[in-house]
Point group: D3
Chain length 300, copies 6
């Protein structure tokens, strides 16, 4: 059961209203690396995990992320408080009002649509989607997803700090950024507290394909590094003629029943393209009289 | 520049048509952990990476994932080949046709909508979304995202193998699963070939918050483990009275100009709720005559 | 700041695993009327509301909805616990495993994709979207949105109860359903505790259009009722010739600068359709030799 | 059957082209509170409603909303008419053309993507989604949804009026805003013309939970008001120890078959975290030699 | 201005309720090739078109598509009428009710979520999205989009007819399918009534690239046909060494200012991968003691 | 199998960094008419096509579009290279940094969120969606979709050229635009190489509805043209009384079983609206004492 304490987890002291800055902050409220995505990622994992220690950790951190969501949302609310009031009350001349809110920029997204409150969109107005959550219910994969998610969130906070000059906002962002580092550490510990966590899951790989590196992109710029050389790797310089890697003719096959084959053949016959035709086409018609080879290059 | 060889990377030998199994396979064609998501994750990273070795690796693996996309798509095409023909030609009695395609299940999604071809949806018909791609242009974060993505894809292939009994499909899935293991290894090597990759990015954390573990979820079930105990951790048992962690009163503040304050006050006055009222409400009206405390519990 | 107590708000006692039922339950976990949507609706409103009493209520109820999210998510986790284990361990023959999980139905969505854990999708697998949240930062509108949202959620719970025969699940659903009724009552009281809450917002309507009911759909079946008759209404039986309601010629106009007009004219000239032509078309070509009026009706 | 009259429902007289203003207007064309969402909300309800009077009203208003969609779309078309022509014809020097269209702002969204025509996006370019439609086929809920939707649309029009200084656009927005007020009135009448519309639906609530208000958010700022005090309420000050409200131990339970339990145990064993370990982690590796407690706070 | 006549455009006589069939029908109500998408495609084009004849045609057909939307929506409403009533009233034993509604299939999507009414989702429950609309405001492109859209819609109706055995539904689907054919014809005529409609738009192509066909996919299966041979084509058999087609070294370049170059170099240095290292990785740690080349192939 | 050559298909020479221009270029990277959508449209068709020549062509062009995706993505990477470095390194004073990146415009979308790399969003930040892909597995429809898609892409490139003044970018856009023209030609040839490609598919239309043009939008502005006059058309001036076109009473019907009818009646009775009532409503309550007819026009 969740409970709420009216005090923020971190006291926020915004210097002055700034709707454009508020738009940027939405990135961590309703964006892909934001706090709701983080909270839901860990919460959904925690609900289904059978390991009591890991479950406890997941819910601890999910709860903290919800508290962070409140912090970043409160920053947005403070930054838009002035604009919100004026918009609602029509308190200025129209022209001034629009300029005041947007500061010549695109912040109308936030202020006009959502009335100045924090909204579940990213800094460009894209609606939050459950597609941001990558939990799949296997701890050896999910913990790696969590580690990556914390790393990404840390970087977004770093970028926001780099473009913010309100000291109160910077200070709070620094706290939020730091906590992502701490969470990454916890998830790392939890991952490596599982024996044999690599490869993830239960099935082993096929020995003949596990240690090969296929060089699929070739030309000047081909490089070797620990990701494709060393004792763990067999480097395979793929050529067109090397396909398929398992032999055979490289064509997909399936065995059809006679009635199925008949239907497939009927489709094929109906939609057969005649390779030897040179039909007049809609483009030919559209290119006008005299259309031919050179027509397409002269245009309208 | 991409080029294409007409042979598949892995020869696929499907035993017999099975549209329901095809629906499941779509998970790795147009689903969140599928091959298009993988290819696009690495391709977008590779385009912008300045490090020549890592860029080479990213494009190598992106290209291989596109080749995997072709393999899994060909599996889908084989599994639906019979149904597709019959649907297009109306080759059976209607009732039989529907039963034949769906096998009493929900595979009409695939066969009816998309004509039996592979489509950019997951196994439940959810459209692929760019929200699946979590690249952010910082290698110390992106490589961790790639490691996690490969781990997840490996697991999904494992689950698909567990519910498939077509030996040809199982064989191809085994190849695809194994390559995810190999790719994870490459991304791991590339991550640790970067010095000081933790914390990701450039800014250090705030020392006072980096090593704390906040115990936010409490009660029977609280556990300790390496994620919150040991030399790297200070365990903090958060109580309601512990907020905010940086002192202060826990309220967000902002300094408004006088005109902004006036507008805020006007909104507040206009929308003030009267705490001492006990107004008749729409629910009271709706509950009918005699509505009162007990009414809501007796219903319609 | 949020905190979490390890005990559920409501003890859940599921009778036996049932992945298909779990899929249905997802409707209130990751669906449009579900608990996350409710929690986020009230939470985003509460963050920006200036009225202390209403703000308190919004956060109280948001917190309770998060606790409900945990209850419904735990129901899902219990219902899929058996399937999840078997899927992860490949514990049965493949054919049996698939049948066991799906029960001949479409529940593979839940079990295969998400590993048996609760996911932010609705019962058909549609990803949760921020588009479900309709908060706009004006209490006289938002409270009405909340009233409506609670009414909808109550109904979805009612429907789920009607198709569930697990007594433990039914019991928990009954609790969740009832709380929606209580929340609706709170929001109703809060709305009517605002004086002059209708019309919402600040600007009055235009007197000449406020009380008219336009009868736009006509024919047998036209009805009168309190929504279009009585002292508050002027009933207007719209005919084609009644447009526009404000007079004028019913055409939109704008005054263009000369250079703009020139460009518009250039576009118009370039893309002008010749009404008197009877051009041969791509369809004519496609219909084959002898194509004409009757061709299209004879088909392939 | 729908029919169309070539005259707009309301004659629109735009003063001059303004692509940035056009972008804002899209909010009510393709945004969540816009006219398409309104029309589709009522139309889908009307198709399935059994009550002849309510069905008539729903289709009347749906039809009017479609006519409003045409009005707001025509406003957009007028505001972008100049930019559209220049963009299509490349009629100016490139630099001037870009500046002319965007006015130093973000309106390229509209003009570049959609060629100056109205598009089904909101003012930030978010694609319209069926997730905006909240109809569920139960009149006592749907009518409340409609009331709320009209209230929200009224407010968005009010905000657009507040930031518009083109008198012709303001005039048309005033008409559209006013009609939302009228529609809200109709839906209110229709709701209260249903006896016992509260609680919505058929099932009564559980008496023991209907009238309780759970105080979930606590601390300075706790308030009482008609939403949690008075004859209809029992106020419950929830403490951590109060969970669960129905007694029991607060843990979710399910009875598994032996084979299911075995599989669950196998997963648990395979993914068990060792709480007493202090494993070296990827973060430790990444922090470089000498990594330890203080390392994470000093960064790169 | 739109108006509505209470009679359907086509009298629908459904034989008996069938919720599963209703789910399929949703494909043309809220699916990508459905009637709402069609109506909105033509309506948005019509609003902005300057050509009076084409504008008239676009609105004529948009209005007819709205009338078709009503027809297909009414079919859905009839097919679910029985299930809807039972669901709302809980009129049967629970087990029977669920079986009755779903017929052992996945139709709970429709009946449970949407209460039996038509909803803006496709047959798999995917929400309708504005991404289905491909209008861009240039008639020579938009008319081709319309031709294609009608062709697709015709095929979906054909497939639905092929799997339907209710004669009343089949009859109505036949009408709707036929009208798509008629609409395609109109759009074809309108396209070819524009002189020089190919290439679309105003700018001519670059002569050196207009008529080349690049053979990018090579191997057994390479074919020639009118799309790459004949007087209009120059066939180019691309080899890896043929890139880039415009000469140069095939690397993208940009000229950076000194401060920009310095920043780029700083990033590069910070995130440099050491190609000669062979670092221990997280995967090595995770593979357990003794991890090495063969470890990854033996698994958990 | 795909392979990659490290050289771009077209050498890109960007003059100088310009993040705002980069945002615009994203339209063809992650937008609806962009190169990924094109590649996936043809690739998914090619996988399932039975005709060897057409299949070859589809994969050829899909592969070329992937190569174009790399070209446009490289343009984005070059245009943001300077901003990316500064953002990552915090290389300037904060205020300057923000201004430098955004140039007073909304380009923070690209630079802040995605770190300066190309992302799968359009120029307004909308995530790419599988809804952009309209393949349905029937060549006579899909080829028309391809023709239309190429026409749209050509126009978007034309618009981008019109607002770009970097000569290197313009040059590359010209190449990409031209290739769309060539591809359209190929698809046209392939379509007309199929005999009897109109009507698409197999089923003929119903003769009585194939050649009728329904004039649904009436009034001043009604026009005739080849799309509704000539030997192929019967022009029908629809009046309200003309519905339904197939006779009958225009009401949808279905035959219900007795138990179904009883349930429907129960719902109808429970939710019956009383047309003769004039109930007090929530709006009446909200309008305050003295609310009545004129109240709604005076507002707050």
């Amino acid at each position: 059961m969740f409970m709420h304490n009216k005090k923020l987890m971190y006291t926020v002291r915004v210097s002055e209203p700034n709707p454009v800055l508020a738009s940027l902050m939405l990135e961590q409220f309703g964006g892909p690396q934001g706090e709701l995505a983080a909270a839901m990622r860990y919460f959904t994992q925690g609900l289904a995990d059978e390991d009591p220690g890991r479950k406890d950790m997941l819910i601890d951190i999910a709860t903290e992320e919800l508290s962070h969501l409140e912090v970043i949302g409160s920053i947005v609310a403070m930054l838009t408080k002035g604009a919100k009031g004026k918009l609602a009350e029509g308190a200025e001349e129209t022209t001034d009002l629009y300029a005041n809110i947007t500061q010549g920029n695109g912040s109308h997204t936030l202020s006009l649509l959502y009335g100045g409150g924090p909204a579940l969109v990213n800094s460009a107005g894209q609606l939050w989607t459950g597609g941001y959550i990558d939990s799949i219910g296997e701890p050896t994969a999910d913990l790696r997803s969590n580690i990556a998610a914390e790393a990404r969130a840390k970087i977004i906070y770093e970028r926001l700090i780099n473009v913010t000059n309100d000291p109160g906002v910077k200070d709070a962002l620094g706290f939020l950024m730091t906590r992502e580092v701490a969470h990454q550490k916890s998830f790392e510990k939890a991952l490596y507290a599982i024996d044999n966590n690599f490869p993830p899951g239960k099935l082993p790989g096929k020995p003949e394909y596990t240690d090969k590196y296929y060089n699929m992109s070739q030309g000047e710029g081909d490089m070797r590094g620990p990701w494709n050389q060393g004792t763990q790797w067999e480097f395979v310089d793929i050529k067109g003629t090397d396909a398929p890697v398992n032999g055979g003719d490289g064509n997909p096959t399936v065995k059809l029943a006679a009635s199925e084959m008949a239907a497939v053949n009927a489709v094929a016959a109906r939609t057969m393209s005649k390779p030897d035709a040179d039909p007049i086409t809609g483009a030919d018609l559209g290119a006008g009289p005299g259309a031919g080879k050179t027509k397409t290059t002269t245009g309208g």
